[in-house]
């Protein structure tokens, strides 16, 4: 390493150590490592220290709030209604109290956005979608379930088999409190084994139908089957749907 004295000629005053390149490449390498291993690091820290740490890590435990319309529909808990219709024996409109009086399911599972961010160990509480479907009675010939939102823009769909998975719920509580407006409250869908866009917010209606109706995001290019592992999933082997 040859470091010239700074009394060198002014034409070549800086033939010292190229610190700039080292720091630049070092930072770029740090960024690349973060892309490759940031996910594992976050999961490891989350597991080792508990989910509390995630909240302290910038970006480690933070929802990014998306909305299609750019507005949150505001529905009070008293006025909330969930309309279940379509190929069912007993079309029913549920109030929030109705849902809360049904058998409760609660678990902690991650919310994974298709764009990459992830919030681990989110506590969820609600009614299994399958319980709700059992309550209204699904008619033969039914194939899929379509979901509507109070934002009048988002729609979603699940096959009937997907709708019967035990971790697909109509959620009224999230993060240990009633689902807030920006998270899709008072009642939203939570589809644990799929990317977040399947977990429709401000759930207004459930329609049992005889064919898959691709939802808003799916008409915009996302897979109809939003399985987290990116496969066609355990319960829907039809690759045409993904």
């Amino acid at each position: 390493m040859s470091v010239e004295s700074h009394r060198g000629t002014p034409k070549e005053p800086h033939n010292g150590v190229n610190v700039g390149r080292r720091v630049f490449l070092g930072l770029a390498a740090l960024g690349a490592l973060g892309v490759a291993f940031g996910n594992s690091v976050q999961n490891f820290l989350g597991d080792a220290v508990g989910s509390g740490l995630g909240g302290l890590l910038p970006g480690g435990d933070r929802f990014r709030i998306y909305s299609i319309t750019g507005a949150y529909p505001k529905i009070t808990r008293d006025k909330y209604r969930l309309n279940v219709s379509g190929l069912v024996d007993h079309p029913t409109t549920f109030t929030l109290a109705d849902l809360q009086s049904m058998p409760k399911t609660s678990f902690a599972k991650a919310f994974q956005c298709v764009t990459g961010w992830r919030v681990p160990d989110v506590p969820w509480e609600g009614v299994k979608l399958s319980d709700l479907l059992d309550r209204v009675g699904v008619k033969s010939g039914a194939v899929a379930v379509s979901f509507d939102s109070y934002d009048n823009a988002d729609t979603e769909s699940l096959t009937l088999e997907q709708a019967h998975l035990p971790d697909v719920i109509v959620a009224y509580s999230m993060l240990g409190a009633p689902v807030t407006t920006e998270h899709g409250g008072p009642v939203r869908l939570y589809v644990a084994p799929m990317f977040g866009y399947k977990s429709l917010k401000w759930l207004s209606g459930i329609r049992v139908v005889d064919a898959i109706e691709p939802g808003f995001w799916e008409r915009n290019g996302y897979p109809v089957n939003g399985w987290l592992d990116g496969t066609t999933g355990p319960n829907n082997p039809d690759p045409g749907l993904t």
Binding site: G34, A36, V114
Partner: protein, 213 residues
């Protein structure tokens, strides 16, 4: 250099030429736009909803894509001579400068045009532009990347955003508390007096340049 041909009598020294000043302010504008639009995107739940979110996203996206342009355009071409020379100054460090950083500013230093702290700031900002551009693109065009990379890119984009925020705030505080230096990014020149105190090595080189004319 076009200040004067009589080095012993000039009172102001050109520190940043027009191209550099233009690049700086274009870069600053883009950073400002990015940080302002990032706030509601990142802290969405703080603000309730308010926002034409899609519009904010688009401003953020396009500001981000434009971010490398001021520096690149100011570097290439015949107008980029001063910029290229300063990049070399920022890159190449003397032993004295390295020691100055290791001793956290306690060792003797005959400062170059930029002191090591300013140099680190410039290197950090340029590396951040690359990192933010790459990770931001991964988030925008996420379909081409495995999910774990997307998560990693989110992680890196967030961490660097925090780092950039503090560095930029530090940069602005330093600028506002150093009047002479601040003036040079608006008007281009610093006083000879300032240069003698804060950039002696650079001043001597400039004088030698002039002597050779």
């Amino acid at each position: 250099m076009s200040i004067t041909r009589a080095p012993t009598t000039f009172y102001r020294v050109l520190r940043f030429d027009r191209v550099q000043r233009g690049a700086h302010w274009a870069n600053a504008l883009l950073f400002f736009s990015l940080m302002v639009t990032a706030t509601p995107l990142y802290f969405g739940s703080f603000f309730g909803i308010v926002w034409p979110r899609h519009l904010i996203e688009m401003i953020h996206l396009w500001s981000g894509l434009a971010l490398p342009l001021p520096i690149l355009i100011s570097l290439i071409g015949p107008w980029g001579k001063a910029m290229r020379r300063d990049v070399r100054r920022i890159n190449y460090w003397t032993r004295e400068e390295i020691r100055w950083v290791r001793t956290l500013g306690r060792s003797r230093l005959e400062a170059d045009k930029f002191n090591p702290g300013q140099k680190l700031n410039a290197i950090f900002v340029s590396a951040s532009i690359l990192v933010m551009l790459v990770t931001g693109s991964m988030l925008q065009w996420f379909r081409f990347f495995p999910v774990s990379w997307r998560s990693g890119a989110t992680f890196v984009h967030d961490l660097f955003a925090y780092a950039i925020f503090f560095v930029v705030v530090g940069h602005i505080v330093m600028a506002l508390t150093h009047r002479d230096t601040l003036r040079s990014i608006f008007e281009g020149s610093v006083s000879r007096n300032w240069a003698e105190r804060h950039a002696a090595r650079w001043l001597r080189e400039e004088q030698l340049d002039h002597t050779e004319l």
